[in-house]
């Protein structure tokens, strides 16, 4: 469709109503019990205090192993609502809702109508990994936000590769999004290559007119230099407030006159980046009962338990300033558990959709199938071949990609009739597994009935 045609397209009220409903619905499912437990859930124990420290001093405390952007986002919530569970989880809630919206927009780029995109977005909203990461102050929801944004912009460009202006802006947007993703977690780099190849493919389709080589060069620059520039910009507060970093404090412990020049700060920054790299490479987490090899994500064999507590009557006597309230309303012997495990309907439908897309990509040379698969697999295979034991919440960026696989399959005739069944089963599964995603107390038998991975 040309721009001239687009400008004549009449907008429907549904263009606003459907996305608004998706966002409101997502928020409505995630808001209840958002402040419970009133204790840190898993790695919130690092990120929330780090975010508070960034508000205080502009930098985190020591032992940092991830870039600062995600913690700055958590800090915004703390700035707005204080150092309360709601405050440190607020940014995750907002970003989780935006991910659902982006999934809808992404699916709209290759599926006509609103129903299938809405179901894909709903699948993200009602998935267990998206749900748990969208309610806790971990970094993965922010990583998922920026990778999903990059995928969405790439799909917008792919819809009409001949529209130079749109392709250029989408490329810049993807570069910025992936730069921000890198500034949350380095694993955003996995997708960077996939997005770069997609834009190079679009350039490759263009006729070899004068300046074609320059445009290819500009594409490579935009998707390499720009993300790195955004990444470095995220460290500006760190460089500026260097005298408050743990590196400075340790270096200058016995010397009050100690200070570092800009060059020295940059040198120490690079050295610290190398320290993070070494940590990420050497930290195999083999002894960690909550982590496992990433190829096991394929059937959710070993999900990560973020919080677990047995409720006893004695806990009700905790004074307000010590009570985490996780057992509020529980019966004696009930268990509170928060597990990052996928909604089995979404996950296994996604695996099936992936196989169908692989068949289409190979035997029908379906470009859409190829790119959608690539966007998912680029975020999975690097983990899967890694000997490092990983947590299941690392798949948070993969869920929107998998929802797009499902959308691409369910939009076509042989599988279209499955759409209502998929939608209903996803909702039913969400309702059933909600207690182990939201930390609602239940009896041990009820909890065990929901631990579907135990069947393997």
């Amino acid at each position: 469709m040309t721009d001239a045609q687009q400008s004549t397209v009449k907008r429907s009220w549904l263009d606003i109503a459907v996305p608004a409903l998706l966002v409101a619905g997502t928020a409505a499912t995630r808001m209840p019990r958002l402040s419970d437990p009133r204790a840190f859930v898993f790695d919130e124990i690092y990120y929330a205090p780090d975010a508070a420290e960034m508000l205080r001093r502009g930098v985190e405390k020591g032992g940092v192993v991830h870039p600062p952007a995600g913690k700055w986002l958590i800090a915004i919530g703390i700035r707005l609502f204080g150092f309360t569970p709601f405050g440190w989880r607020f940014a995750a809630l907002v970003c989780g809702c935006i991910i659902v919206l982006l999934t809808y927009i992404a699916a709209r780029q290759f599926v006509s109508g609103r129903l299938v995109p809405a179901v894909a977005a709903g699948a993200v909203a009602l998935d267990g990994v998206s749900f748990t990461t969208g309610r806790t102050a971990h970094l993965d929801v922010f990583l998922a936000l920026f990778t999903t944004l990059a995928i969405t912009l790439t799909l917008v460009a792919l819809r009409d590769p001949t529209n130079q202006k749109r392709v250029r802006w989408c490329m810049v947007g993807s570069g910025v999004a992936l730069g921000l993703g890198l500034a949350v977690k380095w694993s955003a780099g996995f997708l960077l290559l996939g997005v770069l190849l997609a834009f190079l493919w679009m350039r490759g389709r263009e006729a070899a007119t004068p300046g074609h080589g320059k445009r290819i060069f500009a594409t490579v620059l935009t998707l390499t230099v720009l993300p790195v520039g955004v990444y470095l910009a995220a460290y500006t507060p760190w460089i500026v407030n260097f005298d408050k970093t743990y590196i400075h404090i340790v270096r200058c412990r016995n010397n009050n006159e100690c200070s570092e020049s800009l060059t020295e700060r940059i040198r120490l920054f690079l050295r610290d980046q190398d320290r993070i790299r070494q940590f990420q490479q050497s930290s195999l987490q083999e002894g960690n009962s909550n982590a496992d090899l990433s190829w096991k994500w394929i059937n959710q064999m070993h999900p990560s338990t973020l919080f677990r507590k047995t409720c006893t009557p004695q806990l009700n006597q905790a004074p307000n300033d010590l009570a985490d309230q996780s057992c509020a309303g529980a019966k004696p012997g009930d268990i509170v558990e928060i597990v990052t495990v996928a909604n089995p309907i979404v996950w296994f439908a996604g695996m099936g959709a992936g196989l169908i897309l692989a068949w289409r990509a190979v035997f029908r040379r379906d470009r859409l199938a190829f790119f959608l698969l690539a966007f998912g697999l680029y975020q999975w295979l690097p983990w899967a071949i890694n000997p490092r034991h990983s947590y299941t919440f690392y798949i948070a960026p993969l869920i929107p990609a998998i929802a797009l696989w499902i959308a691409a399959v369910l939009a076509k005739k042989p599988f279209k009739w499955l759409l209502p069944a998929f939608a209903v089963l996803t909702v039913v599964a969400f309702a059933f597994y909600y207690p182990i995603w939201a930390g609602k107390p239940m009896s041990p038998d009820q909890i065990r009935a929901r631990e579907y991975w135990r069947a393997y």
Partner: protein
């Protein structure tokens, strides 16, 4: 890239007209969000102390509550018994209450952010805790992916 049914999809993300208006709105939102990030809440320190106290209590409770009675442990050299809740919480309040967390001790400026909570492991090597509980994940739900000490250079 063709649409699945070969139909065109109305352009959603960037309307051709009014691009500047959208950009201005986005910039305004970004500016508001950035400003919101400046400064710190007035009672940040107290809120963080309370959060640490609750977390510490929660860690001790999680350590002990799954055991069969007597649910006892040792914390900071003191014996704590969850089956006697009034004494349990009064000890916790005294040795791990909000006022016990000094967030501005210069000696700990280079510590990892969670370090104040390293002393919240109620070591309870009693007989009950040596037995594996059937049906549990056996998971340590206090993480972690990070080193416990800062490695300054």
């Amino acid at each position: 890239m063709p649409c699945v049914r070969g139909q065109a999809v109305p352009w959603l993300a960037v309307p051709r007209h009014g691009t500047r208006r959208v950009a201005t709105r986005l910039l305004t939102v970004a500016a508001v969000v950035s400003l919101a990030g400046c400064g710190k809440p007035a009672n940040l320190d107290h809120q963080e102390q309370v959060a640490f106290a609750r977390e510490c209590t929660s860690l001790v409770e999680r350590n002990l509550s799954g055991d069969t009675p007597p649910r006892r442990g040792s914390l900071g050299g003191e014996n704590v018994n969850l089956d006697e809740p009034s004494s349990f919480y009064s000890i916790l309040e005294r040795i791990r209450g909000a006022s016990t967390y000094n967030l501005h001790d210069p000696k700990h400026n280079a510590d990892v952010g969670r370090q104040p909570l390293d002393n919240c492991d109620a070591k309870a090597p009693l007989l009950s805790s040596l037995l594996t509980r059937p049906g549990t994940t056996g998971a340590s739900t206090t993480s972690t992916t990070r080193p416990r000490t800062a490695t300054g250079n």
